[in-house]
């Protein structure tokens, strides 16, 4: 596994990643995210955030570049890379005709989590996310927040080293949002890594250890909030100011 300049072990390393859908969506993107950090990938609509994450998760094949997850080449050994990764899309699918417990049972099967461990984790996750009383109900009647939390439980069931989330807090009320943020913080304290996209810049400002801003498929700026603020210059107090300043610098 690669060790970065900061001395931390790199959980995700992306080099020269490119993807085009007729026009370039992601262009020669480099990323290095250390184990045990929360990394927020920000950018305007259509900047290439979701495309980048989908390539990392193996849902899209890049046109060029390399992806390394926990030391595994994700393009050459996708199964090994996926084994330690979880993907939570912005609108996660749940099977309407399954209960949360049955859904987790299926997910455990996909990742081949040992039965006893899967049971323990499923109960703990559903309890922690407030879904245990609903474990026997079909998901078809769930609110958007409950669906999001069930999908999150599924994503965490195999205890992934790298959790990749696209807009994880959309649709959640304040309490559920806090619950999820606490859960993510707890995960990184145990050495797990979280990569997320969000349009709520306040979330990124408060939650993320490092922030990457991409625009038109290219990395515009990267660093801690303090570093980005420093780079943006005086007068840029909030992440929103910094974000607007940096993305305005680059033609979309």
């Amino acid at each position: 596994m690669m060790v970065g300049a900061t001395g931390k072990v790199s959980m995700l390393t992306v080099r020269g990643l490119s993807k085009s859908f007729g026009r370039p969506a992601v262009h020669r993107l480099d990323l290095r995210i250390a184990a045990g950090e929360i990394y927020a990938l920000l950018g305007p609509n259509g900047a290439g955030k979701t495309t980048t994450l989908r390539m990392v998760c193996g849902l899209l094949v890049p046109d060029a570049g390399s992806i390394e997850i926990a030391g595994h080449d994700a393009l050459a050994e996708p199964a090994r890379a996926k084994q330690v990764t979880a993907w939570l899309p912005d609108e996660p699918l749940l099977y309407d005709r399954l209960t949360p417990l049955e859904y987790l049972e299926f997910v455990a099967g996909l990742w081949q989590v040992p039965t006893e461990l899967a049971r323990t984790r499923a109960q703990a996750l559903l309890t922690e996310l407030g879904l245990w009383p609903h474990r026997g109900e079909l998901c078809e009647g769930f609110s958007r927040g409950m669906r999001q939390k069930t999908a999150l439980a599924g994503a965490l069931l195999h205890d992934p080293s790298l959790l990749i989330m696209d807009e994880p807090l959309s649709g959640l009320d304040a309490a559920a949002s806090r619950q999820v943020k606490d859960l993510l913080r707890a995960r990184v304290q145990t050495g797990r890594t979280v990569v997320l996209t969000t349009h709520v810049l306040e979330v990124a400002e408060r939650l993320a250890d490092r922030i990457g801003i991409i625009n038109a498929g290219r990395m515009v700026a990267e660093g801690t909030f303090a570093e980005l603020r420093h780079r943006a210059g005086s007068g840029q107090e909030t992440l929103e100011d910094v974000f607007l300043h940096l993305t305005a610098e680059q033609p979309a």
Binding site: G22, G58, R80, K82, V107, Q112, V113, R121, A124
Partner: protein, 491 residues
């Protein structure tokens, strides 16, 4: 994360056991569980009624099969070559039906299954995911033909013709082969024409194969005598001279030969495996890339984008939505494919008479009604932003007028063609055809305009209303067809 066990939790990438989580059978069981839950979600009374109807149909088909069985008994002993040719043609027709359903299901698997993200982000090999999908497609593709054929086979078995038991493995093999071929075709289309056109092209292809299957049953009427005699004369000597050829395996297997039966089973398994291996990676990468690609339409300058009038703007929007609707073209094609050959067959039966013209007018009016129903689904039933127009300051009557204009224009393009043919070939029937087609279209349009909100409503009442309207629509089409036919025959 408090209370949640960490550690080296996940399994290895090694292949799981046959029935263990992560295996092909385990995945298939998951798919079947979802199908079962879907069925069970139907209300208790409705489910019982459905079961009763299905049970009655199966029973009636078995009685018919038992009665018809003596006609088929020992036919293969007495007329070996004829039996082989006939059975081959019937099986060929059935395979088209399998293929048609398989293509439809493969298209649904690509566009309507929302769990691809979950499955493809898991460490399961794509090959295994695709194999499961193929098996599920085979089960669904084979269901209807099995329901129709098994009663006849069972009838033969009850009459002591045990060799016909070979039909069971043959049907299973054919459904697996159709699943593999149908999926390969659908994926090929996706790679070739892209996601936007794949749905329409695949549905049209499915319709075409379904129609070929249907024509096989109507060959006596649709295919001219000379052509039928030629096919028979070509096939008969071949069947007699080379009975061992693989083209006769399905027929020979149905008639009880063991070796062809095994040969077919091997081919079926190999076709599923080879498609899984060849397309497994594409399923996980190319497919997702294609589906993720943004849909591009022809770019016109901004000066061509804004109409001068409100009416023009609404007409333009309705027209764009109509021609870009993913399902309408394929459904219209479906109507043409299934109803026009009937009209052609009527014209082929001797010289055109008032009665054959009446039949043609009946079918054309029916088809116009059905095509109207399909086309109005775009502007009237499928308006995703109805609230936008309702909350705008546009005069209330303007929007329906624009929708009617677009519908009638599309209808004139599509349904006008058969009328032109009638005008040229059966001109005495032309006025009656125009009148009945216009009546069918106008009544269908009125029905759609008077019920758009009810059709959109979810829940039992909405579904009941939709069923009632569906039934009413069929009655309207038949009514105008009968009216046109009577007018042609007697006036």
């Amino acid at each position: 994360m408090s209370g949640i066990a960490h550690g080296p939790a996940v399994g290895t990438a090694a292949s799981p056991g046959l029935f263990e989580p992560g295996s092909t059978i385990w995945l298939l069981r998951h798919d079947l569980r979802l199908v079962g839950r879907d069925l069970r979600s139907t209300g208790g009374r409705k489910r019982r009624a459905l079961g009763l109807v299905l049970g009655t149909i199966v029973l009636v088909l078995h009685i018919v099969g038992y009665a018809a069985a003596p006609l088929l008994a020992r036919v293969h002993d007495r007329y070996r070559a004829e039996a082989l040719v006939t059975a081959s043609l019937v099986i060929g027709g059935m395979f088209m039906l399998f293929l048609s359903k398989a293509i439809s299901e493969a298209t649904d698997a690509l566009f309507q299954r929302g769990d691809l993200d979950l499955l493809l982000s898991s460490p399961l090999p794509m090959r295994r995911v695709l194999t499961t999908r193929l098996m599920a497609i085979a089960v669904i593709a084979g269901f209807l033909p099995l329901v129709l054929v098994i009663p006849v086979v069972n009838g033969m078995l009850l009459h002591g013709e045990f060799a016909w038991a070979g039909a069971y493995p043959v049907l299973v093999s054919l459904s697996l082969m159709a699943a593999a071929a149908g999926s390969a075709m659908t994926f090929g289309l996706l790679a070739w024409v892209g996601p936007r056109w794949t749905r329409m092209a695949a549905r049209s292809l499915a319709t075409l194969f379904g129609a070929m299957s249907f024509f096989a049953t109507q060959a006596r009427l649709v295919v001219p005598d000379g052509a039928r005699r030629w096919v028979w004369q070509v096939l008969m000597p071949v069947a007699g001279a080379v009975p061992a050829g693989p083209q006769w395996w399905p027929a020979r297997a149905v008639l009880g030969d063991m070796l062809p039966m095994l040969g077919l089973a091997v081919i079926a398994v190999l076709s599923v495996m080879s498609v899984s291996v060849a397309l497994g990676q594409a399923y996980g990468s190319g497919v997702m890339s294609n589906l993720a690609a943004p849909r591009a339409t022809r770019v016109a300058g901004v000066e061509r984008r804004f109409a001068d009038s409100v009416f023009g703007a609404i007409v333009r929007k309705e027209w764009h939505l109509l021609i870009r609707h993913p399902g309408i073209a394929a459904q219209v094609f479906y109507q043409f494919v299934f109803l026009l050959p009937g009209a052609v067959a009527l014209l082929n039966v001797g010289a055109p008479t008032a009665h054959s013209a009446a039949g043609v007018v009946f079918l054309t009016a029916m088809m116009t009604g059905r095509i109207t129903k399909i086309i109005v689904a775009g502007p009237f039933e499928g308006d995703q932003a109805a609230a936008l127009v309702e909350t705008s300051p546009v005069a209330p009557g303007l929007v329906p007028r624009a929708k009617i204009l677009v519908t009638v224009a599309a209808l004139a393009v599509v349904a006008g063609l058969p009328l032109v043919v009638i005008g040229l070939k059966l001109y005495p029937a032309f006025p009656a055809a125009c009148l009945s087609c216009a009546g069918a279209a106008a009544t269908r349009l009125w029905l759609a305009m008077s019920r758009p909100k009810l059709l959109r409503r979810a829940g039992l009442q909405g579904r009941l209303q939709a069923s009632t309207d569906g039934f009413l629509g069929v009655v309207i089409d038949i009514g105008w067809g009968v009216f046109g036919a009577l007018l042609t025959a007697f006036v």
